[in-house]
Each structure stands twice: as structure tokens, then as C-alpha cells.
């Protein structure tokens, strides 16, 4: 008798579209902001993250190899260096972002070292975020020259040649040239969506409340679910337009590779948009006016931009900050987008980052329903 009415729902969507169309300034901002930001963030944001997770694939169990690994840990740049036995294991770790480096120590490492023949150590680095890896690679290069100096100075002193005893080869995976746009462009996708989606929906209901039109809407038989979702739909489309713009720019202006499946990317983007829209709608049912909705948006947006790994490498932050960041959908979204675009990750590999976004959404919806007012009280 009083179920969800599609006709009413379309009526609300249509009204929202008309109002959006008439609000030229807002509409211009929604399209203009992504373009502006893309141009502004052309420069690299640098930092010096430490304690990066690394794995060692060692085929040589000599004291020299162990010294080198210990020296890596002591440098402060690497943390919890795990030893893996097989190559595919190492590959898995780096593809899923569980480690940022894999250090390959070859079978004949100590023999070549003793003979002074400069054994090779291959370092694979996940360079999707180049600023996060550059300094650590620099530190590795110093280690290659000095770590074994004392061991080699004794009885094997003669074997210590004046050039570095080890030939360190760095293989920057996923982003060989260390181009920061590869990181910034996917990051912008996330921040711009966070900003506009939360703000626009946050204002959508409070605007009605402020103008007094909410009273009229409440006096009609329209259901809260129709009003809330009807207001969300136009912004999903706006979000997709923004994504399209940024994606095109990433392909044709910044030449960011697209290794993964665009359908997977689309799916992930939709989940992310939905998470932000639910937060926006929840904000607007808590806020009393547009100003409060705006303040709430910024209260959420600033940590998102600072902690998610967009501004500063995630792993460069103290643990409590990482923990906080892991609540934010943007943190996971960045990993997802980089994973899809730069690493070609498939859907099943992305689950560890998708469920936290879904969990966030669920909690927010529950909060929103708790606060939604069906009356003017």
C-alpha cells in the first residue's frame, strides 16, 4: 500500500537533475575541479618513508648473505625482512603489495664474492609510488658497497676490490621510470571522487532543509528511501563523468599504463562512489545546515587526503596513522586503482582491499538510518 514507487523515485531523480542543470556554477565546478587538480598536481610529492616490508629470496645460505640481510634491516628502511623459498611466492607478495621489495640473492653469491667477482643481487621494487621506494633503493646501493666490508677485510682482505663487492641490480617493477604521475593520477581519481561525492550529497538534503522545501517534501507521501536514493543517483552519474575525464587524461596526457581490466576498474570505482555517497547522505541527515555538512566533509576529507597514501607514502607513516588510514575507503581505493592500472590485478586479487570499503559502507548506512529524521523535530 505504501511501497517503493518507481514513478516517485524517477520524479525525485528528474527534479535533482533539473536543479543541478540550473546550478551552473556547481556543475562547472564538478567538471572543472578534476581538470584543474590534474594540472596542478603535475609535480611530484616526495617523502622519505622507512620500515618498508621486504622479502628475500636467497639461494645462498652463507654468512655473507645473512650479513647483507641484517645490514638491510639495520638500515631502517626495511622491516620484517621475510625469507621466501620460491620465486612464485615472492611474486605473489609483491603483486599483492604485501612487500615493496624482493631481494634475490643468487646461488653462488658467497663463492663469487670471495673470488672478488662481484656477484649480482637483483632487487625488485614495487615502484607504483616512486617516492616511496627511491630512498630505500639509494640505501641499498650504499649497503652493497659497505655492508660486507668488515667480513671481507679479514682473511679475505685481498679479495676486497676497490669497486663495490656486489653488483646491485634494481628492477623497478610496474613503473620502471619512476614517473610520479603514475601514482598521482590514480590518486587524484580517488581524492576528487571523495571530495565531490561527499560534498554534493552532503549538501543535497541540507539544502532542502535550509530552503524550507524539505517540509514540502516531507508532507508528500514520498518515502525516505526514495528521497535519499533518488538524490544519490544523479551524483553517481556525475562521479562517472569525473572518472571518465580523469581516466582519459591519464591515458592520453600522462600515458599511465592500463594493464588491468577496465571492467574491474569500473566495478571498483562504483563501489568507491557508493561508499562516499552513503557517507555524504549520512552527513546530510546529521547536519542541520549546509555549513555543517561542509565542515563534516572537510573533517573527513583532510585525513583522507593526508593519510591515505596519496600525499605521503602509506608505509612512511607511524603505525597508529596507518591503522587510522586503513579505515578510510580512499586508502584501499588507491591500492586498488594502482593495482588494476599498473599491476593488472584481477578481481579475486583485490578482495583484501574491497571488503574494508564495503564494511565502511555498511557501518555508515546504519548510522545514516539511525540519524535520518522523518519529521521536522
Amino acid at each position: 500500500m505504501n511501497g517503493f514507487s518507481l514513478s516517485r523515485w524517477f520524479g525525485i531523480i528528474g527534479k535533482e537533475f533539473i536543479q543541478l542543470k540550473r546550478d551552473r556554477l556547481t556543475f562547472g565546478m564538478i567538471i572543472g575541479v578534476p581538470v584543474m587538480q590534474l594540472l596542478l598536481f603535475g609535480f611530484a610529492i616526495n617523502a622519505d618513508p622507512k620500515n618498508l616490508p621486504a622479502a628475500v629470496l636467497s639461494a645462498d645460505n652463507s654468512p655473507y648473505a645473512r650479513t647483507f640481510i641484517r645490514a638491510m634491516e639495520n638500515s631502517g628502511y626495511f622491516r620484517g625482512v621475510v625469507q621466501v623459498a620460491r620465486e612464485d611466492e615472492a611474486e605473489d607478495l609483491i603483486a599483492h603489495g604485501q612487500v615493496q621489495f624482493v631481494v634475490n640473492i643468487p646461488e653462488n653469491f658467497s663463492r663469487l664474492l670471495v673470488r672478488g667477482e662481484q656477484p649480482q643481487i637483483l632487487v625488485e621494487a614495487d615502484a607504483t609510488d616512486p617516492s616511496a621506494t627511491n630512498n630505500a633503493i639509494g640505501a641499498l646501493q650504499v649497503l652493497a658497497a659497505t655492508a660486507l666490508a668488515r667480513d671481507l677485510a679479514g682473511p679475505l682482505g685481498a679479495a676486497s676490490p676497490s669497486p663495490a663487492p656486489i653488483d646491485l641490480r634494481v628492477h623497478r617493477r610496474y613503473n620502471p621510470e619512476g614517473i610520479s604521475a603514475y601514482n598521482i593520477v590514480p590518486g587524484l581519481l580517488g581524492t576528487i571522487l571523495t571530495m565531490t561525492m561527499i560534498l554534493m550529497t552532503g549538501l543535497a538534503v541540507t539544502r532542502e532543509r535550509e530552503r524550507g522545501t524539505f517540509e514540502n517534501l516531507l508532507a508528500t507521501p514520498a518515502l525516505p528511501i526514495e528521497v535519499l536514493t533518488g538524490k544519490i543517483v544523479p551524483y553517481i552519474m556525475i562521479g562517472l563523468i569525473q572518472v571518465g575525464l580523469i581516466f582519459l587524461a591519464s591515458q592520453f596526457v600522462f600515458n599511465v599504463p592500463m594493464k588491468g581490466n577496465p571492467v574491474v576498474l569500473f566495478f571498483v570505482v562504483l563501489i568507491f562512489i557508493a561508499a562516499n555517497l552513503t557517507l555524504g547522505i549520512t552527513f546530510s541527515s546529521i547536519a542541520r545546515n549546509q555549513l555543517q555538512a561542509m565542515q563534516m566533509t572537510f573533517f573527513f576529507f583532510l585525513p583522507s587526503i593526508l593519510l591515505s597514501g596519496f600525499m605521503f607514502p602509506y608505509r612512511g607513516m607511524p603505525e597508529w596513522a596507518q591503522w587510522l588510514a586503513s579505515i578510510l575507503p580512499l586508502t584501499h581505493f588507491l591500492v586498488l586503482v594502482r593495482g588494476i592500472m599498473l599491476k593488472g590485478n584481477e578481481l579475486h586479487e583485490l578482495w583484501p582491499q574491497i571488503w574494508p570499503i564495503l564494511a565502511f559502507m555498511l557501518v555508515v548506512i546504519l548510522l545514516g538510518l539511525r540519524f535520518y529524521k522523518r519529521t521536522l523535530d
Binding site: G11, K15, R22, E215, N216, A219, T220, T375, L376, D377
Partner: protein
């Protein structure tokens, strides 16, 4: 819909607090089907709040009274009430950035109307706004906004109209048209609760309720309300009325002294005290004092003055 309901609105003992402020106290109202019921009271007396409680936009304080609107429970069946009530808000609450036609169309859609186009066209025609249908409603003058709002809340053919100061800022001709339409609709069985500050409008209602500071002070037909207050009123004409009114106000038994053009209306509840006061001040032959019928306005002003002390405005 409950069959055989005699009352369009029948609420008893509703209360509403905003924070510590007791805005509506033990509000009871019975509006018969097909009746035009006037709702009067000074600013901030709780008219809008009461109307909002009747149509489910505000929840009355829990455990304080109950009632029905069109036979539906005002506490539990608000969804059903909303479908059959047309509520016109005091403040213009249609969308200013939608055109007149878009607004009407949207409202028609919200009520799930079948023949939307015809209904909207019909409403535009009655308003005489066909030629301006594609103008933004925010660009309308205040009076036209009121008329558009009324058209919008009549669109879905409600059984009860709740009108919150529908004619504020509307010119006399449009006001007369408005009341003619309301009476025509009531003749067809529509019930109307209308709040107003205009005395002539109050007199056009079948019955009235007067509320002040959250308390219902009088109900009944205009004549009943006037006689129930047992007011005595004298019209005084003569020189220097301004001075006279100050002098009169200082005397016991004098309630209100209100200038009406060249006459002064002096009202009070105790006739003998009032006569004494008039004899003391206006005994001069230049003054003419004669008893007249108390008007609704005299009654309301006296009611308002009597009620103030019951309420501390925060």
C-alpha cells in the same frame, strides 16, 4: 479510511516541547467534515507547530494525548494521512529553481497521480498562469507564490486542507477569490483548517479556535467566541483621543483601549468599573460615549493580554 467518521480532525491533549520550551499545551481540536475552521493566535503561539503535529511532520510529546486525522491515527498512520491531506506551509516551500510547471508536475508525481498532465494543465488554467508556466517559481511575486502553493496542495484532490497563513501578502481581490474557492470546495465536502491573522477571514470561517502561548483559549463560531468572553465595549468620539486613551488605561476595569480612526474602542470585562472609568475621564459634553457590540478583534486582543502571564518567553 474509517467509515462514519464525523470529524476530519479530532485530536485531544497533544503537547509539544522544543527543548525546555512548552510550545503547545494540551491541544484539542475537533474539525467536522466539510467545515472551514479558522485558527487564530498571536505570533509564536504554536499554530504552525499544531498544524505540523496534525499532519505528521512533528511528533507530539510521547504519552501525551492522541487523535485522528481523516480517521487515521496521528501518531501511527502518518503515511496514510499524508496521502489525503493538502498542506500549505507558511513559508513558500516549493522549489524556486524549478519552473511553475515543473513544480506542479513534481508534486503531482509525489502523490502518484494518474492523469498528471491534465491535472497540471487544469491547475495552471485556474491560476491563469499558462503563459508563465515555464518561468522559474522563484521569480514570482510573494502573492503569486502563495497562489501557486495553494494550487500545488489542491492538485491531488485532498480530503483535508491544512493552510498555514495562505493569504499573507495576497491582494484583496485575490483574497476574495481564494475564499470563494475555499467555500466552493468545502461545499463539496472538503474540510479546511486555516490559520490567519485577518479578522475578516476569521469571520468567513464556520468555526474558530484561538490559541495563545500554546494554550487553546476559545473555540466556537465567531458569535460564540465573542459572547463567551463577556466583554463590554464602548465607542468614544471626541477631541484629543490620544490623551484620553492614556488616561483611561491607568484606570481599573479598563482592558483595552484601541483607536479606530476617529473613535476609541474601550473594552473591559466588568461593566460597572468600565462605566465609572469612562465617567471619570470622558464626562465632558464634547465626548460621546455609546455601548457597541464587541468585535472579534476586541475579543482576541483581550484574550491575548490575559494569556501573557501564563508563559515565559525564553
Amino acid at each position: 479510511m474509517n467509515a462514519g467518521t464525523e470529524f476530519a480532525i479530532d485530536v485531544r491533549g497533544l503537547n509539544k516541547h522544543f527543548g525546555p520550551k512548552h510550545v503547545v499545551r494540551d491541544f484539542s481540536l475537533q474539525v467536522r467534515a466539510g467545515e472551514i475552521y479558522g485558527f487564530l493566535g498571536p505570533n509564536g503561539s504554536g499554530k504552525t507547530t499544531s498544524i505540523r503535529m496534525i499532519c505528521g511532520l512533528l511528533t507530539p510529546d510521547p504519552g501525551s494525548g492522541s487523535g485522528t486525522c481523516l480517521g487515521y491515527d496521528v501518531l501511527r498512520e502518518t503515511a496514510a494521512i499524508k496521502r489525503e491531506v493538502g498542506y500549505m506551509t507558511q513559508r513558500f516551500s516549493l522549489w524556486e529553481d524549478l519552473t511553475i510547471r515543473e513544480n506542479l508536475n513534481f508534486v503531482a508525481r509525489m502523490y502518484g497521480m494518474k492523469h498528471r498532465r491534465e491535472a497540471v494543465d487544469g491547475a495552471l488554467e485556474r491560476l491563469g498562469l499558462q503563459s508563465r508556466a515555464n518561468q522559474l517559481s522563484g521569480a514570482l511575486s510573494g502573492g503569486w507564490k502563495q497562489r501557486l502553493s495553494l494550487a500545488a496542495c489542491l492538485l491531488h484532490q485532498p480530503r483535508l486542507l491544512l493552510l498555514d497563513e495562505p493569504t499573507a501578502g495576497v491582494d484583496p481581490k485575490a483574497r476574495r477569490d481564494f475564499w470563494e474557492e475555499i467555500h466552493a470546495l468545502a461545499a463539496d465536502g472538503l474540510s479546511v483548517l486555516v490559520s490567519t491573522h485577518y479578522m475578516d477571514e476569521a469571520e468567513r470561517c464556520h468555526r474558530l479556535a484561538y490559541i495563545a502561548y500554546g494554550k487553546l483559549l476559545a473555540t466556537g463560531t465567531a458569535a460564540e467566541v465573542v459572547s463567551s468572553q463577556k466583554l463590554h465595549t464602548y465607542a468614544v468620539t471626541g477631541p484629543n483621543l490620544a490623551y484620553l486613551s492614556t488616561a483611561l488605561r491607568a484606570l481599573p476595569g479598563v482592558g483595552q483601549v484601541t483607536p479606530f480612526g476617529n473613535t476609541l474602542h474601550v473594552t473591559g470585562q466588568d461593566d460597572s468599573l468600565l462605566r465609572d472609568a469612562l465617567a471619570a475621564c470622558a464626562s465632558d459634553a464634547a465626548y460621546r460615549v455609546e455601548p457597541i457590540e464587541s468585535t472579534l478583534e476586541d475579543v482576541f486582543i483581550s484574550l491575548m493580554a490575559g494569556a501573557t502571564d501564563n508563559f515565559v518567553e525564553q
